[in-house]
């Protein structure tokens, strides 16, 4: 059959409009929530924990009738912990999928990229795990459910000085990582102000396997502990190589230590380390206990800190949508997004898994943190630090 170019074009236009209409009609029936995290790539365990927890939250709310009578539709994007992939994922979710909000990204460097897109397109974004201060400073659509770096480093510095009673500490930083560099700066400042001394500050690149040169240099300065603000992948190796060089000092770390792989890679060498984290599964808090039980039932393993934070991120978002009410149901996606954002910003005294949280003016949660000790069969709760 032959059609003029013009007729063919108009036929396509009609077809396109019908399809677009159909998609639009479908979209009106659900709340679309995007989730961005690495399900492949070097830090996939974080992404998988996050996505599992968000999925759990979505299923829980949907089973109870959804939000404002609508079901939640979760759209997952794997960003491979890569900046370019993150950019693409956020753009796709914001424009093609027309999501109401995005949970993610997971790694700090990715969230910085994602926040620029989210803010530009005015999509509410809540990162569960990106702790660098500047992520939410990008704009008023960016939230997080974890503590910021300064808080973690301040808590660790205080713990080292007051509770462990140590005065001379060395630092080994991942220089290619915003998160690690941020923690290092704040730790050096806080610990110095307390009267402690950072006797050596060395660095490595992510993916390095040999740290003996740095450690030998650190060893010569005789520190009482070594702060390793980085991820479990390197921390385990660093611990082993420290012991191989005859260094017996305790290792201190941030929430990046929170992974079962820490034990596999670090073995005995990592035992006795301390790290700051967002939650401890040993708490008696009812929200927390319920979450741990649900998570264990669905996935057969205990949730880690990343899962807890991701669940809270979903919780903050869903509760905000409920509070926004009618406005969040708007057919105009921009208006709905704004209503959700406004409601999120007003989150106050929300009973979440990682504590009772309220947003401050930079959309960072104010809540407590915990210090955990690495022991043979997991983590031992040491102390809870209130904000």
């Amino acid at each position: 059959m032959w059609m003029s170019r013009k007729r063919m074009l108009s036929a396509f236009m009609v077809l396109f409009m019908v399809l677009a209409g159909a998609v639009g009609a479908l979209a009106a029936d659900t709340f679309k929530v995007g989730a961005v995290g690495p399900t492949t790539g070097p830090v996939a365990t974080y992404g998988l924990s996050v996505l599992d927890a968000v999925t759990l939250a979505v299923e829980k709310y949907n089973a109870e009738g959804g939000l404002l009578g609508r079901q939640i539709e979760l759209i997952v994007e794997d960003n491979k912990a890569d900046a370019v992939e993150t950019n693409n994922a956020f753009r796709k979710l914001a424009s093609r999928d027309q999501v109401h909000a995005i949970v993610g990204a997971v790694v700090t460097a990715n969230s910085i990229v994602g926040s620029q897109v989210a803010q530009m397109m005015k999509v509410p974004m809540i990162t569960p795990t990106s702790t660098a201060e500047k992520v939410t400073l990008e704009g008023d659509y960016i939230f997080r459910s974890c503590l910021i770096d300064p808080v973690q480093a301040v808590i660790m510095a205080n713990f080292v000085y007051d509770s462990l009673n140590l005065r001379e500490v060395a630092i080994l930083t991942a220089q290619t990582n915003d998160y690690s560099v941020g923690l290092t700066d704040v730790f050096i400042e806080t610990f110095g102000n307390l009267g402690g001394k950072v006797v050596a500050a060395e660095s490595y690149s992510e993916g390095d396997q040999d740290f003996k040169a740095q450690l030998t240099k650190i060893r010569a300065r005789n520190p009482e502990a070594v702060y390793v603000p980085g991820y479990y992948t390197e921390a385990g190796l660093i611990a082993r190589q420290m012991r191989q060089l005859g260094m017996e000092q305790p290792i201190l770390g941030p929430d990046g230590f929170d992974s079962p792989k820490l034990f596999e890679i670090g073995g005995e060498a990592i035992l006795g380390s301390y790290f700051t984290n967002h939650y401890s599964k040993e708490t008696e808090d009812p929200v927390s206990k319920q979450f741990v039980a649900d998570y264990r039932e669905k996935y057969g393993v205990d949730p880690d800190g990343f899962a807890a934070l991701a669940y809270d991120a979903a919780l903050i978002l869903f509760e905000a949508i409920e509070r926004a009410g009618e406005d969040a149901l708007s057919k105009n996606i921009a208006a709905a997004r704004q209503a959700i954002r406004d409601a999120m910003a007003e989150t106050k005294d929300l009973e979440a898994v990682t504590g009772t949280l309220t947003f401050d003016e930079n959309r960072n949660p104010v809540k407590s943190a915990v210090i955990l000790k690495v022991v043979e069969d997991g983590y031992e709760f040491v102390e809870r630090v209130e904000p």
Binding site: T40, Y204, S205, G207, A213, Q214, K217, Q244, L245
Partner: protein
């Protein structure tokens, strides 16, 4: 004073141990280049494959260290031959840049398939090799460092022997010199090149297993940086020259450690690749480059 000397010696030990790992990977790199003038960028990924094969041989088939090492070498050699047959052979007579780009493509392919199949999580390598630490006058070293250095030296000698004194080695050198002439002399050029790849891949796999045991952590991306550094080591020693890979590796390792010890660790990788640029500017043939005329 004694403490400073102890620290210097410890750093030297650290450097040599790191360098022997680079040397181990660089040997295969340099040999393949020496014979067919192809910078096989997938070499680092074969190294990763080798580590994983060793890992599975030990974990699933309950093999001990040596059988696992041999199995990893054989399987990797097979992969090397298959890669050469599928990716490089069809490009034998096209430009060198085409082959180089293909090698980069093969490297990415292996990495990403490995990511898909084995997941990106790092795995801890089983402890199959007894660990013994020695403390001599305040300097720590262990048996695994010695084994890696020893194996690197041993393989260097074996490789040198194969290339210099065996029938296959003579054929390899003939192909390196002029493959058309070699073919006219009745040498099966395809077979020689397959053999070269098999040998190079087996070497990479041996390195993978040893490094897996040494650092106790393997992941699909592990071939990237060590592969690049080994490449620099090969160029530094004189690419295509087998003893050069050994010297280049050790110089790189010691230089990296020296940078950390004397200045700041921030400069470590910058110096490693700075060395590459300086070598290419001042002495493109590398440290042992004069022997390059013989092209092996």
């Amino acid at each position: 004073m004694a403490a400073i000397i102890q620290e210097i010696i410890q750093q030297l030990v650290n450097g040599i141990s790191l360098g022997s790992i680079y040397a181990l990977i660089a040997l295969g790199y340099t040999m393949v280049y020496g014979i067919i003038k192809l910078i096989n960028f997938a070499h680092g990924d074969i190294y990763m494959l080798g580590a994983f094969i060793g890992f599975f041989a030990i974990n699933i088939f309950q093999m001990s260290f040596f059988p696992a090492l041999i199995v990893a070498m054989i399987v990797a050699a097979f992969f090397g031959v298959v890669i050469e047959r599928l990716a490089y052979r069809p490009l034998r007579h096209s430009t060198r840049i085409a082959a180089l780009i293909t090698a980069i493509g093969v490297s990415m392919l292996i990495q990403n398939v490995a990511l898909l199949v084995w997941k990106p999580d790092p795995r801890s390598f089983p402890d199959v090799f007894p660990f013994k630490s020695y403390k001599i006058w305040g300097v720590y070293l262990d048996n695994r460092q010695l084994v890696i250095l020893g194996v690197a030296l041993f393989l260097m000698v074996v490789l040198h022997y194969i290339v210099r004194y065996t029938r296959m080695g003579r054929a390899m050198r003939a192909v390196a010199l002029d493959d058309d002439a070699a073919r006219l002399m009745g040498i099966d050029v395809d077979r020689v090149i397959s053999f070269t790849f098999a040998l190079g891949s087996a070497l990479a796999a041996a390195a993978g297993v040893l490094v897996g045991i040494y650092y106790n952590r393997i992941d699909p991306m592990m071939g990237g940086m060590p592969g690049l550094k080994a490449f620099v080591a090969a160029v530094l020693g004189g690419i295509g020259v087998i003893p050069g890979a050994m010297i280049g590796g050790l110089v790189m390792g010691v230089a990296e450690v020296a940078v950390v010890a004397l200045t700041t660790s921030t400069w470590k990788d910058a110096v490693a690749f700075g060395i590459l640029i300086i070598i290419l500017l001042l002495r493109p043939a590398g440290i042992l480059g004069q022997h390059e005329r013989e092209k092996v």
